[in-house]
């Protein structure tokens, strides 16, 4: 073999190793959680509230809490994010102000989630007087997802060819009509994909809900938007580090982790399936 060939082989091997390592680590984490958690996950675990000082029972309130807070997050972030993206991409043009806005949005997505949590306490819990509640936590998570939603939505709008807009305008469509009938229908799947990925990230966050609405223990479900709630990530955090009998509740912690991961994975898979479908549509 010539030396160049050898070099290439080695380079290729190293790259393969890197990729393999990533998969291996992910596999190990999943294996650890699944092997230690799957025995815990049964019908009672999914449908009962914690009992006996959270050493027995299930995690139903936490599942419902995470579900509800994610719905509120979506309700806050999706319209605002899509509206913002539509304005930025279709109406605002490219100038100093919009560049500044875009830069701020990109930087926002890098802000640590605990900072969002503190911001949520100041703005929603105190200033707006929402108290520690489902609504305050949902809005805080909404803020966290907003940069994702906006960026993904703008990307989706950019992917719709300019010729669709021009073609519609040349036929006598107003700008809004062209947008509504010949741009948005092709952008929405892409917008949703990014948004769901953002929501999946929000659903797994602990820091932003820590001070804004998540409860240590509640045997019942929230009855209104101003109630506190239990959430899977926070419950996991407690079971893993804060409980008085850590050894005893370890299986519950693993079970909770498994449910949380399954939930987020399902959301991501859904987003990927949507993107896949979108790509196929585009090729037609």
């Amino acid at each position: 073999m010539r030396p160049r060939n050898v070099q290439e082989k080695i380079g290729f091997f190293v790259l393969k190793l890197c990729a393999g390592l990533v998969v291996l680590i992910l596999g190990m984490i999943l294996h650890d959680i699944v092997s230690k958690g799957w025995r815990q996950v049964n019908w009672t675990f999914l449908t009962a509230a914690p009992s006996m000082g959270m050493t027995e029972g299930g995690i139903f309130p936490a599942i419902m809490g995470t579900f509800l807070v994610t719905v509120i997050t979506a309700v806050c972030a999706v319209p605002l994010g899509m509206g913002c993206a539509i304005y930025l991409n279709e109406y605002a043009g490219d100038n100093k102000v919009t560049r500044l806005i875009r830069m701020s949005i990109r930087n926002l997505s890098g802000v640590p989630s605990i900072v969002y949590g503190l911001f949520g306490v100041v703005l929603f819990v105190n200033l707006l007087g929402l108290g520690t509640s489902l609504l305050a936590a949902g809005m805080t998570l909404g803020l966290l997802t907003l940069p994702w939603t906006i960026t993904a939505s703008e990307e989706a709008l950019k992917n719709v060819p300019q010729s669709y807009r021009d073609g519609a305008l040349a036929l006598g469509a107003t700008k809004w009509k062209a947008l509504k009938t010949n741009v948005l229908p092709y952008a929405i799947p892409g917008m949703l994909t990014g948004t769901i990925l953002g929501l999946a990230r929000a659903a797994g966050e602990t820091a932003p809900i820590l001070f804004t609405g998540a409860a240590f223990f509640l045997p019942f479900l929230p009855r209104s938007l101003s109630d506190q709630f239990m959430a899977l990530p926070y419950h996991l955090y407690i079971m893993a580090t804060q409980h008085h009998d850590l050894e005893k509740v370890r299986p519950i912690a693993y079970g909770t982790a498994l449910v949380l991961i399954a939930l987020i994975l399902a959301m991501n898979l859904f987003a990927i399936a949507l993107r896949y479908k979108l790509r196929k549509l585009k090729k037609e």
């Binding site: 060819p161 021009d166 073609g167 040349a170």
Partner: protein, 254 residues
């Protein structure tokens, strides 16, 4: 021929992309039911001129214009003019055919629907008429619900023509509609243009001298943003008044 009625009158028209001037002092009378061929080297402002006639240049940020373009005597740049109305009267077929990702039928029906037509029978009737007008009906009548992307390149371009015809414009602007097509498809489009001029005023950009000579009644030669020569096609191609026009049409540059 009807040389009485001036459909579009361009006067003292200047156009700028930011600081760069793309059209200089253009003046042109476009008569009703005639085919105006626009020729000139690449970058001379043909597309810019065409897009000025239905104000599609408005879409580009940072453009400026001076002078007037009148359609049936009304300045299309005047304050209070409804751009949407102008574009409905002055249809456009783009250089690169741009079917929408919809069915053949829905492509042609699009303009009708956004303009408020709801009656299904009226839409179906006009779609058929437009496809016939664009000489495409025979080829697609059995697959109206197929995706427009399944058509061949030439069929897609004729679909775009049908789509423009469906809203019943008075003027049709075409930016090199045959540039990406093979000779058969091209001659189909040329025949079509001869047919269409009975009902429409047509302004067409082309890079192909023979084509311009074949199809246009009037020919306009642009260079570096200026309208160098504008006359009856026969005159421009056999006895141009400017030396530079002759050099261009005989292929000595450009």
């Amino acid at each position: 021929m009807n040389r009485e009625h001036i459909k579009i009158k361009v006067k003292d028209f200047n156009f700028f992309y930011g600081e760069e001037q793309a059209l200089k002092n253009v003046a042109m009378d476009i008569y009703k039911n005639e085919v105006i061929g626009i020729i000139g080297p690449s970058g001379c402002g043909k597309s810019t001129f065409l897009r000025s006639l239905n104000r599609m240049n408005d879409v580009i940020p940072g453009v400026k214009y001076e002078g007037t373009v009148t359609l049936d005597g009304k300045n299309i740049f005047a304050h209070g003019i409804d751009v949407v109305d102008i574009r409905r009267k002055v249809g456009m077929v783009f250089q690169k055919s741009n079917p929408f990702p919809k069915s053949v039928f829905d492509n042609v029906a699009y303009g009708l629907r956004i303009n408020g037509e709801k009656n299904k029978d009226v839409i179906a009737e006009k779609v058929e008429k437009s496809l016939m007008g664009a000489a495409l009906w025979g080829e697609v009548k059995d697959r109206l619900s197929a995706s427009a992307f399944d058509l061949s390149g030439g069929q897609q371009q004729r679909l775009c023509i049908a789509r423009a015809l469906a809203v019943e414009p008075e003027v049709l602007l075409m930016d090199e509609p045959a540039s990406a097509l093979d000779p058969t498809a091209t001659s189909k489009i040329e025949e079509l243009i001869q047919e269409l001029k009975k009902n429409y005023t047509i302004v067409i950009v082309t890079h192909n001298m023979q084509q311009a000579a074949r199809i246009s009644d009037y020919t306009a030669f642009f260079m570096m943003g200026e309208l160098i020569e504008y006359d009856v096609a026969g005159k421009v191609f056999t006895n141009p008044s400017k030396k530079i026009t002759e050099e261009y049409i005989t292929g000595r540059f450009g």
